[in-house]
Subunit: 217 residues, 2 copies
């Protein structure tokens, strides 16, 4: 993957990796809004100078664009891996969602999906929308296949697809890395619950992990 290679290259120059920069930027954009954030804020949060940050990114807008692009890469990668690892549509959907949700929580980089629209240049905006459209199209196709195979009940794949994505995209609003749940646990519980809503004959087993006494997510 291009992202990984670039990040390793950055990593070789020091601890300020592309991944760290993008995760921190996504978190700040989400908290303060794009217009309420400056590159100085991002540099301060990373504990580096603005000059060091400019070595990696040319502008605030480029930073936001890269945040979006990384998330789309992760989303599409989840679909590819799910197809390699499973053939049944419910299992494929479960793996796809778990990968996406874990990717969103990893360093909270998924926060970027909550940032206000209209901050990107029109060309970048078009590219991000095209990437998201492609992901949504493939998700809907997977849901439709599950319907054709009789594994899923009939539904509108477009509406259900939006419900799936919303459940995942909302996570940065409540998730805290200091909470008691590991990202992997949350991702698997969400994926199991969201697939269960479509299965014609879901198992009556518990959706794991169960609540702990006094647990906070």
């Amino acid at each position: 993957m291009g992202a990984v290679a670039r990040e390793q290259a950055a990593g070789a120059r020091g601890s300020l990796t592309r991944e760290k920069i993008l995760a921190e930027a996504a978190r700040i954009f989400n908290r303060r809004g794009y217009h309420g954030t400056t590159l100085d804020d991002v540099a301060r949060a990373l504990g580096v100078t603005k000059a060091a940050l400019y070595y990696h990114v040319s502008s605030k807008e480029a930073l936001l664009f890269q945040c979006h692009q990384v998330l789309i890469e992760i989303a599409l990668e989840g679909l590819r891996r799910a197809r390699e690892r499973a053939s049944a549509p419910d299992e494929q959907l479960r793996l796809t969602l778990a990968h996406y949700i874990e990717g969103i929580m990893d360093q909270l980089r998924g926060s970027v999906v909550l940032v206000e629209d209209g901050a990107l240049t029109p060309a970048h905006q078009r590219q991000v929308i095209a990437g998201r459209d492609e992901y949504e199209r493939q998700l809907r196709e997977l849901i439709a296949r599950g319907m054709r195979d009789g594994v899923f009940v009939p539904c509108d794949p477009k509406l259900v697809g939006f419900a799936l994505l919303g459940a995942g995209n909302w996570i940065p609003k409540w998730y805290s890395p200091a909470g008691s749940r590991a990202p992997k646990e949350i991702a698997e519980a969400f994926a199991a619950y969201l697939v269960r809503g479509l299965q014609r004959q879901p198992s009556a087993e518990a959706i794991l992990p169960l609540a702990e006494a006094g647990a906070s997510a």
Copy 2:
């Protein structure tokens, strides 16, 4: 309800109702971010002067606070109505979610939940968080009751509660009033799907409305 009475009073003075102001403000805050929006922008979108707007709201922050408060009122009202109309936990949850989701889509006022955090004064922020916490607490209690009654499979009500809310709160990101689906249809499909994921023995019936050829939501 206080909101309705105030809105009727505003309505009597002309067409610039509190409801219209708040819905338009929520939409603009979501599109441009709180920091990227001015009261002039809101006035312009409503087709009124800034002075006319100031007759109704004292500041941009007060406007954002009221947007949040209206949505919390709607959310809690949905729980109350559901308790009046049904006793089974799955039916109560379905009615609760349908009310909340329809409320979010009505004039797109739900957009406010996507606005960046940290824009409210600390006192207002505490009030909004207390209202949301109360709604989430009651939702979790309803899910836990469904588990105790054997209607829902065992799960972590906190995690599932966040999934439900996320699916609904994400709607302003994709919903267009110009689309082919009525808010009521979308609300009912979402509620049916989200409750189905919890039911121990869900019906194998379709989640309505089904996809139309070439439909867009």
